[in-house]
């Protein structure tokens, strides 16, 4: 007891130590501000008006929510390639349940809510199937999740048979409140509306940040990604941590699919096919290491802002649309090189 009383307070970290501890977040923060400054200076006619930001707040959350969940899997040193198909499967489940059950209340749950719950449930099942292959059978994550990516997309194609499903009726029906909660628009001022999905993105971002920094799970993800053997020896339930990460990704992908369907009031079978690389790129330019052990939720959040704004930004700056991917590529190459440099310098 006497021994314990010796140190009552921690020494305050110096300013330098504080900076060193957040160098990834600071780097990506500077890049984000820089990118938006370039937009502002190069295309003030676009970037001084609310409309472009409204557009960003509508589209970025879909990529962003996927990227937030992927941050955990990638910090584990693994990858999930199946999420674009899980997105479509989640959306398909919701749309199908909704359009087929509109006259009946199952278990007293109205059809849209039931569809959303079913979609999220399917997302969890997809995460569990990934876990079975990757954690259970020990298949490398990239291989296992490429397999499930095809499998889930195949299911979507078979069930939807190439046809889309309209969700227009849900916007005005008795469950318009549910619709609004996921993809509605809040009238902030007369000329400015705020998309609900952006609030979800911020909320889930904060939740992921708190889990990564303050919850046992976030800590265990970093340890498993860093040194699986050490984590195991110190009593971390490694399989459970990995399964949880895949289930979170499945759940987030289904959620993103559902929100994206409601946003355009339409399900289409090729949904999510173009989102894989931007979502992964958002995680990597956010400073999460593909080698595992080091992840940044703040970085991912900012990375999603950059990735989601590039296309519109580049076109506004007067470049031809064909240039978009060149800039995507440049941003990714430069940012990961900077991280490599910053992290090496510290050792």
């Amino acid at each position: 007891m006497g021994e314990q009383a010796v140190i009552t307070r921690l020494p305050e970290p110096t300013f330098k130590q504080k900076i060193a501890r957040s160098k990834i977040e600071i780097s990506i923060g500077i890049v984000t501000v820089g990118v938006f400054l370039v937009y502002l200076i190069g295309a003030p006619q676009v970037f001084t008006h609310y409309q472009i930001y409204y557009s960003f707040m509508t589209t970025i959350p879909i990529t962003g929510i996927l990227a937030l969940a992927l941050t955990f899997v990638i910090t584990l040193g693994e990858i999930d390639m199946s999420f674009p198909s899980v997105m479509a499967l989640g959306g398909l489940t919701m749309s199908t349940v909704y359009s087929n059950m509109s006259s009946v209340d199952y278990f007293g749950i109205p059809p849209l809510t039931l569809g959303i719950l079913a979609g999220l449930g399917v997302g969890i099942l997809c995460g569990l199937l990934n876990s079975l292959l990757i954690v259970g059978f020990g298949i490398p994550s990239i291989v296992g999740s490429i397999g499930t990516q095809f499998f889930f997309r195949g299911l979507v194609n078979v069930i939807a048979a190439g046809a889309g499903i309209s969700m227009l009726a849900a916007q005005s029906g008795p469950e318009s409140g549910v619709y609004f909660a996921l993809a509605g628009k809040i009238q902030v001022t007369e000329g400015a509306r705020l998309p609900m999905q952006f609030l979800w993105f911020i909320g889930l971002g904060v939740l992921c940040l708190v889990i990564a920094k303050r919850h046992r799970f976030g800590l265990h993800v970093s340890f498993v990604g860093d040194n699986k053997l050490a984590a195991q020896m110190m009593g971390v339930n490694v399989p459970r941590v990995r399964i949880t990460a895949y289930v979170i990704t499945g759940l987030a992908a289904a959620f993103a699919g559902i929100v994206s369907n409601l946003e355009v009031a339409y399900f289409y079978p090729s949904q999510g096919e173009d989102i894989m690389l931007p979502a992964l790129a958002a995680v990597f330019i956010g400073g999460t290491s593909v080698l595992g052990g080091r992840g940044s939720v703040v970085g991912t959040f900012l990375g999603a802002l950059i990735m989601g704004s590039l296309e519109a930004g580049i076109i506004s700056l007067g470049f031809d649309g064909f240039w978009t991917k060149v800039f995507y590529g440049l941003i990714i190459m430069v940012s990961v090189s900077v991280y490599s440099f910053v992290m090496k310098k510290s050792t």
Partner: protein, 268 residues
């Protein structure tokens, strides 16, 4: 019946307070057709450092894993503080107070000192959120009090990769001491270390005894074991070839005996 008697004896001994910390009785371990441990019986007392010596393949590693719950014995009993235990898992053995310090593998390099200190034993609320302030405070205590870290450059927020090999082992040993491990198993803790770093780890090991705990120290090197151990258990092809008290044998004699054992198969 015989077992019941043995159990009673052990319980009585525990009540009297003179039970050994750890007792193994006729422990055998077979992997398929290979007998790796052959009727091993040994005792570890409280507050003593015991050196476990033996050539490669003598069964040291299997013996340790049987104690720590990685393997279950094929037959035989293990008593801890006089009570018969059937350790099923590493987690359970840690709960009892048996902790292992491995080569350099037990810490995660990219994570901070405080995160490593409390890994698997986080101070959390019911929802699993950590009390980071308290974990850092206690880590600070461990570093300053148990390890004598006074450098300002190394704080609890320092990532482990910035520590030397000896300091890492220091963290692993302090962690074990701090969480009241009565029996610390040191499995070749200095294998990858420089001479001066090895010396630091030797100091940490002496500290285990000074603080009233016990340890089993495994090393290939008699010259490392001899200065810090009280007793030596010699293992040879899965059997206990002999137990030697430090006062009965010099370092050179022990070294010689080990060489002879390899040649002749007899500890003499």
């Amino acid at each position: 019946m015989a077992e019941a008697n043995l159990q009673n004896e052990a319980a009585e001994a525990a009540a009297k307070g003179d039970a050994p910390l750890l007792q193994m009785v006729d422990v055998c371990k077979r992997f398929g057709g290979v007998q790796v441990l052959d009727n091993v019986s040994l005792e570890i007392g409280s507050n003593e450092i015991v050196g476990l010596v033996g050539d490669n393949g003598a069964g040291k590693s299997t013996l340790i894993k049987t104690i720590t719950g990685v393997h279950l014995p094929t037959s035989g009993d293990i008593y801890y503080k006089g009570e018969k235990i059937s350790i099923h898992s590493v987690k359970k053995s840690r709960k009892l107070g048996i902790e292992t310090v491995y080569q350099e593998r037990a810490l995660a390099d990219l994570q901070t000192i405080w995160q490593n200190m409390f890994l698997g034993r986080e101070i959390t609320n019911k929802l699993g959120f950590m009390n980071i302030k308290e974990e850092k405070r206690q880590s600070e205590l461990m570093m300053r009090e148990h390890m004598g870290f006074t450098s300002k450059a190394i704080t609890v927020d320092t990532e482990v990769e910035f520590l030397s090999g000896g300091e890492k082992q220091g963290i692993a040993i302090s962690r074990a001491l701090y969480f009241k491990a009565d029996l610390i198993i040191l499995d070749e803790p200095t294998v990858a270390l420089s001479l001066s770093e090895t010396q630091r780890v030797q100091e940490f090991i002496l500290d285990i005894k000074r603080r009233g705990h016990s340890a089993i120290y495994i090393s290939h090197s008699i010259y490392l074991l001899y200065p810090v151990c009280d007793r030596f258990i010699v293992l040879d092809r899965g059997r206990v070839a002999g137990v030697l008290d430090k006062k009965d044998v010099t370092q050179d004699e022990l070294q010689e005996k080990m060489v002879n054992l390899v040649k002749t198969g007899v500890l003499a």
